[in-house]
Amino acid sequence: MSRALKAPLKGPKLYTWSTAAAVAALVAAAGCGSSSSSSPAAGQTAGAQKGGTYTILAHAAFGVADPAQNYTLQEWQLLIDTHDGLVQFNRVGGIAGTKIVPDLATSIPQPTNGGKTYVFHIRRGIKFSNGQTLKPSDFVTTFERQFTVPGPTTFYSGIVGADKCSTKHCDLTQGVVADDSAYTLTINLTASDPEFLDKLALPFAYAVPAGTTKKLTGNNVPPGTGPYMWQSYNPNSQAVLVRNSHFHVWSSAAQPAGYPDKIVEKFGQTISDAVTAVQNGQADEVFDGDVIPSDRLNELNSAKYAKQVHVNPLTSTYYFALNTRRPPFNNLQARQAINYAADRSAYVKIGGGPSLAVPTCQILPPNFPGYKPYCPYTAGTDHTKWTGPDLAKAKQLVKQSGTAGMKVVVNSQNDETSKAFAQQMVSDLNKIGYKASTQLLNSSIQYPFIQNSDNSSKWNAAWSDWYQDYPAASDFLNVLTGCGSIHPHSDASPNIAAFCDQKIQAQMTQASNLGVTNAASANNIWAQVDHAVTDQAPWVAYFNPKQIDFLSARVHGYQWNPQWYILIDQQWLK
């Protein structure tokens, strides 16, 4: 689960994107981006050359580096260059980058036993960066570490035996069966999981040597099999990746060789300073999870930087969760009222303008499995897109709901942008007769605060955002609005609005079950779910953002992968 650029986007399994319409939409979207570069143009790699040091400037480090625990896009962009999983997202830009391809496995197996068993054949002759030869049994350690470290997600809790694992002990010999002589790995699940291959392509499941400690390795990253290896990581200064001398290319789709000899990510500068450094050629990239300050964007509009700036649409939704546990938003009409009143064009301006954000009313982002444009909360009669607020309708609904004049607390983070969103929401609420005020908390506190039901009496609307873990509709709809995502008294209860509709939940379950065998039909049901949830208005979804990447003039071969964003090692320096 991810809800900020620093949290990872997880990728999709392309075979779920089966409709030609979806592909066409994606291609069109990529083409429309003002400067979007999904993949290098034909012949662009002709001048590619190896060598040099690629330097990234990030405002802050990414915390503990152990791949079993780290859950940030920031480290994942590096981990994909140092480690490999059984499968991987195709390492290219654009829509093709969402396809799952075999990596350390020789092929992608068809699940058997009703979708509960996967048998992988492991490639031979691959070595870790410490010289140790990769064996199927290495994956047993890898998966057991997910529970002993432990990982921040429940992605692998469906493996047989996982339910008995704890931080002290984990035995997955029944769930992850390694045959080092036949070079096979069998994974047994307790139930079919249509998203299991997506989960295997995430860095949590990347192979580490069997002898790796079952405890947290802290800032030491265990050896991997990728073209680079970790030379050092100090959260107070920098991370350094150098070439792995044991690496050879076995699949250019999953793990191509990298171009730079060394990749350095430095921490601690302000983002504005990072922009200046890249402008001056002192560094190669402003880390793409850092949001470039609005007053620096004007400079980047200059023709001088036209080839160095890239804009790409993100599969993410920014929204305010409406607290359905207490008045006024335990009332459907009140929730719909603020959805009609929300001036989404104002939120877009706060988000950097129409070039960097697109208004929305629904949960799923565009170009996503199950997405069908839908916006009932707009002025006018076209309910496929937002054209303007409808204040008259909003005021009428507030009157009908009997909630006029109620106090509304709008919770958000206290950084500049999140604060501005909260203030806009206060303005929107006050326009329709509520007495709204802000409650701004530090970013480290705010997200767990709004998730925990113990605090539900302290706020009415809470700002949040969500970035895909992997492109599956359930990653938005089930995770964020499903009944099973409400965990009372827990800081990890991603259904912030505490919205639960049993009829919609039944549809979600039906779509999940159908997804194992018929992704296209499942996505049709997910589209219905998306529209049904939007009608129930547990959120005020207001825009889908776009991503700005700013690179130095010497960087060539930029590719933007929907899963990993910039493919760092596929760029060369000249």
Binding site: D295, N301, G353
Partner: protein, 348 residues
């Protein structure tokens, strides 16, 4: 004994009558003649008056709502209607830049912030909040500290130990860390909090005022307590005690008037300190809460506009500097007036 009384009578008869001089009057005269201190006082009063006039400016001159977002609004520049926020140019058209200073008091004199609000109007409203919180917290702080210091210095022994150690505990915390912790806790009480019959709204100016007042109590308590200890041992207090004066009379008629000059000297300096603290806390997001403005919140609002619209940050920064400078100079003048010996010590 008889001889002594006779001498005293003779002396009384011979000595000419001397008119009593009110020490406060003397101090006032000295302050009046301190031109720098007077200039500082005038500057401070001017800032106060201008800030108090914020609603007049917003409603009758600029005709704006200083607290409502106006991202899609327009204003007039050189006779033309222009949007308050303009989309970036070039091919990419990235970002939205608010209008800069027009230097026209009727139309966004200092420009707009990133939410389309009039910076000049917010500057005045922000000054009002900053001054209310700064002056309010300094006064509350001085009152609490003086009362505690009187009690501790007068009663001594266990009472003094208990109060002084309590002050040490507060003092042991870094000021801003303590304020941030308290601010964060209070902010999460969206329904406010009650102390007896008094209810305090979490988004009002009371939380930052009380927090800042509390964290600075030890800074005033300590010098006042020291003065109380000195005064308590003076002859006139001992004489009053020997005559059976009540504790209340001793505290408020004999001791308080002789320590209040210390508090008066500290007050303007404390106001300057609390204004700075309020600005810092509001800048960090735990002071005055949006959409209310304070100079600290406006500086924070302008952070992402430093390169393109520096006045959003510069204007409140200049106001803080002027206010704090005026208060510090005034404080020095008051100290010189109330404690001429301190001036002599500095000169000597």
């Amino acid at each position: 004994m008889a001889a002594i009384l006779e001498q005293a009578e003779v002396a009384t008869e011979v000595r000419p009558a001397v008119a009593g001089r009110n020490p406060w009057l003397l101090a006032g005269r000295q302050l009046w003649h301190n031109r720098i201190a007077m200039a500082a006082l005038v500057l401070f009063l001017l800032i106060v008056v201008v800030c108090l006039a914020a609603p007049l400016y917003a409603n009758h001159v600029a005709h704006v709502d200083a607290f409502a977002n106006n991202l899609n609004g327009t204003t007039v520049v050189n006779g033309k209607q222009v949007p308050l926020l303009e989309q970036g140019g070039g091919v990419l058209r990235l970002g939205e830049t608010p209008i800069g200073p027009t230097w026209d008091v009727h139309h966004y004199f200092l420009g707009a912030d990133s939410l389309g609000r009039d910076v000049a109007a917010r500057l005045l409203y922000g000054g009002r909040s900053s001054l209310i919180v700064g002056i309010g917290s300094a006064v509350i702080c001085c009152v609490i500290a003086t009362v505690l210091a009187l009690i501790a210095g007068f009663f001594g022994s266990a009472t003094d130990s208990l109060l002084s150690r309590s002050m040490d505990v507060i003092w042991a915390f870094p000021v801003y860390l303590l304020a941030i912790c308290l601010g964060t806790v209070l902010l999460t009480h969206s329904n406010g909090f009650s102390v007896g019959p008094v209810h305090i709204d979490a988004t009002s100016l009371w939380p930052p005022t009380l927090i800042i007042a509390l964290i600075y109590v030890p800074y005033v308590y300590r010098p006042v307590r020291g003065q109380v200890l000195t005064v308590v041992n003076r002859e006139f207090v001992q004489a009053a005690i020997s005559q059976g004066a009540s504790n209340v009379r001793l505290l408020f008629s004999d001791i308080l008037p002789n320590v209040v000059s210390v508090v008066i000297v500290l007050l303007p300096l404390m106001i300057a300190t609390t204004i700075l603290t309020e600005a810092a806390l509001s800048f960090l997001g735990v002071g005055v809460q949006p959409p209310n403005a304070s100079w600290g919140t406006i500086i924070n609002d302008g952070l992402t506009l430093l390169y393109t619209r520096p006045w959003v940050t510069l204007a409140p920064g200049i106001m803080i500097v002027l206010t704090v400078l005026a208060l510090n100079v005034l404080g020095d003048g008051i100290r010189d007036a109330l404690d001429p010996r301190a001036k002599l010590r500095v000169k000597g």
